[in-house]
């Protein structure tokens, strides 16, 4: 992220604009909110007038209008606030759903090839966290600002109608409380953040070492060294925090003092105005109470500012991810997908960065329907990358992958992947039942088909013992089932799909050797049914049934000897 972008809220505005189709709801919610605030301000001001008028001891009946106004303003304030809460929450939920849908659609073409390779899961969970953070976009950030500005402007107009000079004094006070102090607070917080960042990082590192490595430190007898280190880092941070607490406190104090001082300022212009006849004496209390109430309008602004910053940061991080170029794009004039033919790699060359070594340095391979090929090789040698090229999650730097003689780059991605299915190494189980996870491959699969697939991967006895059978929940990320069962469910899903070519990347990781051999053999058997099967395996168990066993070494495929 470049420095110039750090403070920019442009991504936030882009996201806010994207939900402009909800403007009617937005306008309603802002109007209701401003109405509620104004009713509160009005309640105070009219009460002040009522009391002053009453002090002149008129007929009680002549106070009737003011009394009625006070009561209705009290009720209006509560009712309008209720309406605003409903409207703004409805708006927030709708915009969040809009955002999720849009951002999900933009994310789709980037996974897996378009994200930075390390910690992909990390990147994605941060992405989701940031999208969640945008829930506050309207409720806590934009909404309060719009309501605050509108109601403050209206209050100033009323003050202006009563006494222009008072409006001027009030405007200054509101500016200090609503704009100057929030900006000061923000600047102070940012400076504090910068000053504290290094100290926080050092302290976090020290504590991570202690929490994670306590046993090793204790066994080495070095407890005192680490205690001293953590204490030093802690004290350094506390020293900085003490200074920052003071500047934060002063900003808060300024906002509080502004209310009373503004009342003094208004009195300074209003008192002579009463004497000079520019302001009716009976309105003096109203003007002063209006002044006190007016600060209600700007009260949410500081926290709204902080929310805008937080949402802005989230929006920037989201765009940082989504702004990456998609690694593959659909052709402008797609070819007709072939209904038969081989899957073929021709002279594939690939590397992750332009100057790095070639991971694939001329790979040639032909997978025919009815054939089973196994591919071995040390970890990190590019087997999974080759698999991703074969389903076009990435494009090769040179060479081509052909399906039925047509370059994958000329085919629509969806239909290509209907024909060639990759069961990737970190096969993902969705939070749902085993049945739902299997149905991903074939939504209309019958009970018998599902059971058969499960049996073939060795899940039969386990499923039979489960009270809910296929309807057993697998939990978040498949946490309710063991690593081995997770693999087997993923393998069953692969077998169930109607794709013509199956590519299985390490389907038997975490299985013991006999189970791995059985699963590998089952995949080889699948080829007899007329499909092309490519197995990528770290451990060479049960490869006897494969037509070819290849090895990827130094970027090239070789027959395994």
């Amino acid at each position: 992220m470049s420095l110039s972008r750090r403070g920019s809220h442009a991504p936030l505005w882009r996201m806010a604009r994207a939900t402009r189709s909800r403007w009617r709801l937005l306008a309603l919610s802002v109007l209701l909110g401003a109405g509620a605030v104004l009713a509160g301000v009005g309640l105070l001001a009219v009460s002040g007038y009522l009391i002053s008028r009453a002090a002149q001891r008129p007929e009680i009946l002549s106070l009737g209008v003011a009394i009625a106004a006070v009561r209705s303003l009290a009720i209006a304030r509560a009712a309008l606030r209720y309406g605003e809460r409903l409207a703004s929450h409805d708006l927030a939920f709708r915009t969040l759903a809009d955002l999720r849908r849009r951002l999900f659609a933009r994310l789709v073409p980037l996974v897996p090839g378009g994200l930075p390779g390390v910690g992909r899961a990390d990147v994605l969970s941060r992405f989701v966290g940031d999208v969640d953070r945008l829930q506050d976009l309207y409720l806590r950030a934009l909404g309060p600002v719009a309501v605050g500005l509108l109601s403050a402007a209206a209050t100033l107009l009323i003050a202006f109608a009563l006494l222009p000079a008072a409006a001027a004094a009030l405007a200054v006070g509101l500016l200090v409380a609503g704009l100057v102090t929030p900006l000061l607070t923000r600047a102070a917080a940012r400076a504090a953040g910068r000053r504290q960042a290094a100290a926080r990082a050092a302290l976090t590192a020290a504590i991570v070492e202690v929490t994670g490595g306590a046993a090793e430190i204790a066994l080495a007898g070095r407890e005192r060294d680490w205690i001293e280190r953590a204490d030093r880092a802690s004290a350094r941070l506390a020293r900085i925090q003490r200074r920052d607490a003071l500047s934060g406190g002063l900003a808060t104090g300024l906002a509080t003092a502004a209310t009373g001082l503004t009342a003094v300022g208004v009195a300074l212009v209003a008192v002579p105005a009463v004497r000079g006849g520019a302001l009716a004496g009976v309105l003096l209390a109203a003007v002063l109470l209006l002044t006190l109430g007016a600060f209600e309008t700007v009260r949410p602004l500081p926290s709204a500012g902080a929310s805008i910053d937080a949402c802005g940061a989230a929006a920037r991080r989201i765009e940082d991810i989504l702004d990456r170029p998609a690694p593959v794009v659909d052709p402008e004039q797609p070819a007709r997908p072939p209904s038969a033919g081989d899957l073929e790699a021709r002279g594939l060359r690939f590397r992750y960065d332009d100057a790095g070594p070639w991971l694939l340095a001329g790979v040639d391979m032909r997978l025919a329907p009815g054939k089973a090929i196994a591919l071995a090789g040390p970890s990190g040698c590019g087997k999974s990358t080759l698999a991703e090229l074969l389903v076009r999650f990435r494009d090769p730097v040179a060479g081509a992958v052909l399906l039925g003689g047509i370059d994958l780059r000329d085919l629509p991605q969806e239909e290509l992947r209907d024909a060639v299915l990759l069961g990737s190494q970190d096969a993902y189980l969705f939070d749902g039942t085993i049945r739902e996870n299997l149905a991903l491959a074939k939504p209309d699969a019958s009970q018998a088909e599902l059971e058969r697939a499960a049996r073939r991967v060795g899940l039969g006895p386990w499923l039979a013992a489960l009270p809910d059978g296929l309807d057993t929940a697998v939990g978040e990320q498949g946490a309710q089932v063991s690593g081995g069962q997770r693999r087997r469910i993923a393998a069953a899903r692969l077998l169930l799909s109607p794709a013509r070519f199956l590519i299985a990347d390490e389907p038997a990781a975490h299985l013991d050797p006999p189970a791995a051999a059985a699963l590998h053999a089952e995949l080889a058997r699948e080829a007899r049914a007329g499909r092309g099967v490519l197995l990528i395996a770290h451990e060479p168990y049960g490869l006897e049934r494969f037509d070819e066993v290849l090895e990827l070494r130094e970027g090239r495929l070789k027959a395994r000897g």
Partner: protein, 577 residues
């Protein structure tokens, strides 16, 4: 919002307990509480002063026709009171932040000591990052509690009482209205809060379920793409969002009624006071100055109570952070020492034995070790195999005296190790855990962990013995390359070899190796295996493994199953594989 609700729902029940513990646990927190109450008192007095001064100015000008010069002293005082109120607010905020920093620093210091001195080896590595984040960043959340919630709580207790006491002698009727409506606010808050709690929790669950669903789809995006199901997933996301919105809005329509009632109490209370005061003024039973003061004070009476509700929610995160650390501080664990202690026996000369050892993890019902007995012969390489989760690592922690068995004894040469100072015993032992911690510092610093005084030549020798020489030489600065936080990251196999080098360099005569070849590629595993062979010379070694090849090279193979130890012959070993 989700996080806040989560904290709410979770913290609501234990909130009182957490606050009490925090206040008891920390002297800094107690000091802060006193300061907060003092500032709350000052603020209350200033609120009353401001109201009387303002009312005085209005009454003098409107009723007596006074000029600006006549009321100037009052205005000066009003300005002074305003500045003072600002200072009190500044003090509250600064003090609150300072208090939060102090309290957290206090908790951190105790956390570090507890973890290192009393119960090392009790934390699983995966929680380390989260706990550290809480211990450092938790201050931001704790500020909401100390700088906003606590002062607000103090003010909501003090202000209504003080203001009522002021109003009572001046206007009985208004005082009656206030006295009746003000207590209704907390009463309704509690009543409605109870009713709404379950609704809030349910709403939060749906909200987080929706977020979890989004995370689920995003995490599995590659799989969705492979199966061509992305558009179906997008539609499902939409439907879930819309269904959720409709359900939630239905509950909110009722849920927000509680806020409506509270709002009405405050606004109608103010309106009633205004009308009552007006009627009394019209009948001449009350003066304008007193009446106006009462009117200005009325909203000040309701405001702190209403604010308290909002701050209550905002401060939940901070309490949760403190609670998280207190939890670790209060968790049982650590090892007992029977005094007087004796010198630690040398495991290179006499056997280490476990006899009928039982161990249950806190919160679990079934023991992980249940009558386990074994002997580690001096100078021999003993392998411990068994299914994952069988308690092999737990057994290692007992041998290293990082934990105490519930029953049974751990002894060395017949000496019950509870009679040995744990730190003295641990000096005789080295541990190569599954996931070795690499500390911030150079490669050399890391290898020197147990012997900070070792020379570079000795470190180089240890690295060579551990099979780490080659990759260390390939690092940009060799053995001077910085590792750990902010430095170079090592692969699992490289970290493991650094940990082995530590064991080589230490004087330990007992070495425990936990799955030293797990998740390593064939080349790295072979390097580590060779190093283990060298390490075993002259030391007593306990090797935890699930690799039959590795176990086969050991002097003895034991199997841990169902909490007990069984010796395995060669045939048994093959069967286990």
């Amino acid at each position: 919002m989700a996080a806040r609700r989560a904290a709410d729902a979770g913290a609501r029940d234990g909130r009182g307990r957490a606050q009490g513990r925090l206040i008891r646990a920390s002297r800094a927190a107690r000091l802060h509480l006193v300061a907060t109450v003092a500032l709350g008192l000052a603020t209350t007095a200033l609120i009353v002063a401001q109201a009387t001064l303002l009312a005085h100015v209005v009454a003098r000008v409107f009723v007596d026709g006074a000029a600006l010069a006549d009321v100037a002293p009052s205005l000066w005082w009003l300005a002074a009171a305003s500045v003072a109120r600002g200072l009190a607010a500044a003090g509250t905020e600064a003090g609150g932040r300072y208090g939060a920093a102090r309290v957290l620093a206090d908790l951190r210091e105790r956390l570090v000591r507890r973890l290192l001195l009393e119960r090392p080896g009790s934390l699983a590595g995966e929680h380390a990052g989260e706990l550290a984040a809480t211990a450092v960043q938790g201050v931001d959340a704790l500020e909401a509690y100390f700088a906003r919630y606590l002062p607000q709580a103090a003010l909501s207790c003090l202000a209504p009482v003080a203001i009522l006491a002021w109003v009572l002698p001046r206007d009985l009727e208004a005082a009656a209205i206030l006295a009746v409506t003000v207590p209704l606010i907390p009463l309704f808050m509690v009543l409605i809060g109870r009713l709404a709690a379950e609704r809030t929790r349910r709403r939060w669950r749906t909200l987080s379920a929706l977020s979890a669903r989004f995370l689920d789809l995003v995490s599995g995006l590659e799989t969705l793409r492979a199966f061509g199901r992305t558009s179906a997933a997008g539609r499902a996301l939409d439907e879930a969002g819309e269904r959720y919105r409709r359900e939630t809005m239905a509950t909110l329509r009722i849920g927000f009624l509680s806020a409506l009632v509270l709002e009405l109490l405050a606004t109608l209370g103010t309106a009633l006071v205004a009308v009552t005061v007006g009627v009394q003024l019209a009948s001449g039973s009350l003066g304008l100055e007193a009446g106006l003061t009462v009117l200005i004070l009325a909203p000040e009476l309701y405001a702190p109570l209403r604010e308290l509700g909002a701050q209550f929610h905002a401060s939940a995160d901070g309490l949760a952070a403190a609670e998280r650390i207190l939890e670790v501080l209060d968790a049982p664990g650590g090892v007992t020492v029977r005094r007087p202690t004796v010198e630690p026996p040398d495991p290179a000369l006499v056997p280490v034995s476990l006899e009928d050892v039982r161990f249950t993890y806190p919160g679990r019902s079934a023991p992980v070790l249940d009558g386990a007995s074994l002997t580690l012969e001096p100078g021999r390489l003993t392998a411990l195999v068994g299914p994952s989760g069988a308690g092999k690592t737990t057994l290692a922690l007992l041998v290293l005296r990082l934990a105490d068995p519930d029953s049974g004894t751990v002894a060395c040469g017949g000496v019950d190790l509870r009679r040995v100072e744990p730190r003295a015993w641990r000096r005789r032992a080295a541990w190569v855990p599954q996931r070795a911690t690499i500390f911030a510092g150079t490669v050399e610093d890391n290898v020197r962990l147990a012997r900070p005084e070792a020379t570079s030549a000795e470190v180089a020798e240890a690295l060579r013995a551990a099979g780490a020489e080659e990759f260390v030489a390939a690092l940009p600065d060799g053995a001077q390359t910085r590792l750990g936080d902010g430095g170079r990251r090592l692969s699992a196999g490289q970290s493991r070899r650094i940990a082995l080098a530590r064991a080589f360099l230490s004087d330990a005569s007992l070495v425990v190796l936990d799955e030293p070849t797990a998740h390593l590629d064939a080349h790295s595993a072979a390097a580590v295996e060779a190093a283990i062979g060298r390490l075993a010379a002259g030391r007593t070694v306990l090797l935890i493994t699930h690799r039959p090849e590795l176990a086969a090279a050991c002097d003895r193979v034991l199997e841990l199953r169902h909490g007990r130890i069984a010796a395995l012959g060669r045939q048994g070993l093959e069967a286990a594989a």
